[in-house]
């Protein structure tokens, strides 16, 4: 949280996509501690390879997980267990505990539900409890009603369509994935197990870790009133310091910026005006080097409202801090990260010298300027990944022909619906055959970023359009084949990249490489990529085919 993620720290993944910046970016403390709760530094591998939970904190009540600065709770608009519409925003006046789970969950969810049930019974302050299913396929309103009534009939259970649930979970920064683990109980759902505490004014105030126990819940609910918010009014209005994660020192340029601001000086022709909105940029690209780069940036306002839309233009300027190179002005273009839900701006830029640089993003609509912000970043000589024009490293990637692939390919992929085309050829075979290919590193089941879900769907559709191009999917993490299925090798207590990912030096997933018939990297995409960008790169690499 103190410096931008650099390629040298492969486990520091930048926050991206529709993960709530309100939680992730603003709540640095909350996020940091979540890591602790879910296998961060104190969670160590025990001798038998399983994850050992951190020893009991001396005073768990005092473990700081408050969300600072305070931000409005993300949207929560779904259907309750009686089939009625529910909107958390219209339920203000009472604090709410919001957590996600599913009714076929025998261990984690009942533990939290029992903790919360006991806490609500003891709490001096009334609190609304909202349980959101992440398994809408099995959890309809009736199933939720039956399940929750065992704990407290007053608990609200929410369900919706698969799309609604995914959108809601994304907004809350909650991850979930189906695990077909062969249990007689049917598939399991892996999911973020923290509980979120929302105050009576609808602001996200605390994030309570799994296994905290009822005392912590009681304490945190009671302390809502005891923890006043600086400048607290009745409304959850704009908040103090700006959220910033990947670009911690990002400086929003407010409307009242003096006319001599760097933006005014360096801005592209005729757009020195700065709008009235505070723009909080997050640079999601971590590999930035001399030569051609593709930078991706998401933007939100302090209330975590999305600012990247198709009708918004983004002008970028880049200044070398040592002034060894002239400043660069270039327009970005819009892409959807998640169609209709979250967008980003991409800018193609060539950096002539390494070192410290400062970028400025200025957003504009046809009606006038929206706002602008500075963001610092570093340009390195060479990144760990092969640059454009470099030969693609020759690696043997798993194929259906591998003895451990299994009938359904579950021995080499965590994709629940694997597409055989992605496991037909190994990268070394394709390089030897001088065939162009698209190599994608990501883990459908264990990808820690929300950029993977859309990519998985999109890549299969793109593969349909380019029958002459080979597509290769590679799981980037060290995994063990457990009863015919891949499970992460948690020997270090967390996901680690495997040798295949290391051969390509990827610092994050997903990572896509487009390789031409000469075996050279024609394009690469880190983290966030639009389908049209991949299509264009394939056409360019294959001489315009398809």
């Amino acid at each position: 949280m103190t410096s931008p993620s650099r390629p040298s720290s492969p486990n520091r993944l930048p926050v991206i996509a529709s993960v709530v910046f309100a939680i992730a970016a603003a709540g640095g403390i909350g996020v940091g501690l979540l890591g602790v709760a879910l296998g961060g530094p104190p969670a160590t591998p025990a001798g038998d390879g399983r994850i050992a939970w951190p020893a009991a904190t001396p005073d768990p009540l005092k473990r700081p997980t408050a969300i600072v600065p305070v931000v409005p709770a993300p949207a929560l608009v779904l259907t309750d267990q009686d089939g009625r519409p529910f909107d958390l925003a219209s339920a203000r006046g009472t604090p709410a505990l919001v957590f996600f789970g599913y009714t076929h969950c025998p261990d984690v969810c009942p533990t939290t539900l029992a903790d919360v049930r006991d806490a609500v019974r003891r709490s001096q302050v009334p609190v609304r409890v909202v349980f959101v299913t992440i398994d809408p396929a099995r959890d309809d309103a009736a199933a939720l009603k039956q399940y929750l009534s065992f704990y407290n009939a007053g608990f609200v259970g929410l369900t919706g369509t698969a799309a609604e649930i995914r959108r809601t979970a994304d907004a809350w920064g909650v991850q979930f994935a189906r695990m077909d683990n062969g249990s007689a109980n049917g598939y399991a759902m892996a999911h973020t197990a923290d509980a979120f505490l929302v105050d009576a004014a609808g602001r996200l105030r605390d994030r309570i870790w799994f296994g905290a126990g009822p005392d912590v819940f009681v304490d945190r609910i009671a302390s809502l009133a005891a923890r006043p918010i600086p400048g607290d009014g009745a409304s959850p209005g704009p908040v103090a310091s700006p959220p910033a994660l990947a670009t911690p020192a990002a400086t929003p340029l407010a409307a009242a910026s003096p006319s001599g601001s760097p933006l005014a000086a360096a801005s592209p022709s005729g757009t020195p005006a700065v709008g009235s909105t505070t723009v909080l940029p997050t640079l999601t690209t971590t590999v930035i080097r001399i030569g051609a780069n593709r930078l991706v940036m998401t933007v939100a306002d302090p209330n975590n409202r999305e600012l990247a839309f198709p009708d918004v233009t983004a002008h970028f300027t880049f200044r070398d801090t040592d002034a060894a190179a002239p400043s660069i002005a270039v327009d970005g273009y819009f892409i959807w990260v998640s169609v209709g839900n979250k967008g980003a701006f991409v800018v193609d830029v060539v950096f002539p010298v390494p070192g410290a640089w400062t970028g400025t993003i200025a957003l504009q609509k046809s009606t006038g300027p929206i706002g602008a912000a500075d963001f610092p970043f570093s340009v390195v000589n060479r990144g760990a990944t092969p640059a454009i024009g470099d030969p693609a490293p020759s690696i043997h990637t798993p194929t259906a022909a591998d003895p451990n692939a299994g009938e359904n390919l579950y021995g080499i992929t965590t994709d629940v619906y694997p597409d055989p085309r992605f496991y037909q050829f190994s990268v070394d075979q394709l390089l030897a055959a001088h065939r162009p290919f698209v190599l994608t590193f990501y883990s459908p089941a264990y990808c820690p970023t929300t950029a993977c879900g859309p990519l998985l769907k999109n890549m299969k559709a793109i593969a349909d359009e380019f029958p002459d191009v080979a597509f290769v999917h590679v799981e980037p993490h060290a995994m063990t084949n457990y009863g015919g299925r891949l499970m992460p090798d948690y020997s270090t207590g967390q996901l680690e990249f495997n040798d295949l990912a290391k051969a390509y030096g990827i610092p994050v997933e997903p990572f896509v490489f487009v390789v031409d018939a000469a075996g050279r990297v024609a394009a690469s995409f880190e983290l966030i990529v639009g389908s049209d960008e991949i299509r264009a790169a394939i056409r360019a690499a294959t001489g315009g085919g398809a």
Partner: protein
């Protein structure tokens, strides 16, 4: 002939006593290498698809043993599962809690294994009836070397 029959009978009785001792390990004699204590199940409606039970397994012996399965008259199917933290802790939302069935968990010589919420647990699938607070259910844990150990698990609210 008569003497022989008596000897056989004695052997059977001795074997039965030994078997009984193994089965009631909650009150097992100190000589038992593997013991199961503090067994409990979380209260649950029979309509829930699955409930969890927990216990502490101690191996006082000089050789390792392993938990290889479980059964109970309280449920149609019983599996040993492990809840695991998934995902990179440095990632945006930290990670997820996932669950997987476990075929074998070793309990080292002189070691113990705690089955507890958020970790290893016994999954009771298809409850025969509600698990009400105050009830007890029978739980049999199968060990690779020691064989089955049956204990009473209290049903608790949490």
């Amino acid at each position: 002939m008569h003497t022989l029959r008596r000897t056989r009978l004695t052997l059977v009785v001795v074997a039965s006593v030994a078997l009984l001792a193994a089965c009631s390990s909650a009150a097992a004699p100190p000589s038992a290498a593997v013991s199961v204590t503090d067994a409990w199940a979380r209260s649950s409606s029979a309509t829930a698809s699955a409930a969890a039970a927990y216990a502490t397994i101690t191996n006082a012996g000089a050789t390792a043993d392993a938990l290889v399965g479980a059964s109970s008259p309280a449920a149609a199917t019983v599996e040993v599962h492990e809840t695991v933290a998934m995902g990179s802790p440095a990632a945006s939302s930290g990670g997820m809690m996932g669950m997987r069935p476990i075929a074998r968990v070793e309990i080292p010589a002189g070691g113990s294994l705690q089955l507890k919420p958020g970790s290893y647990h016994i999954m009771l699938i298809g409850l025969v009836k509600d698990l009400a607070v105050g009830d007890t259910i029978e739980l049999t844990l199968r060990f690779e070397k020691t064989g089955p150990i049956t204990v009473k698990a209290q049903v608790r609210a949490s």
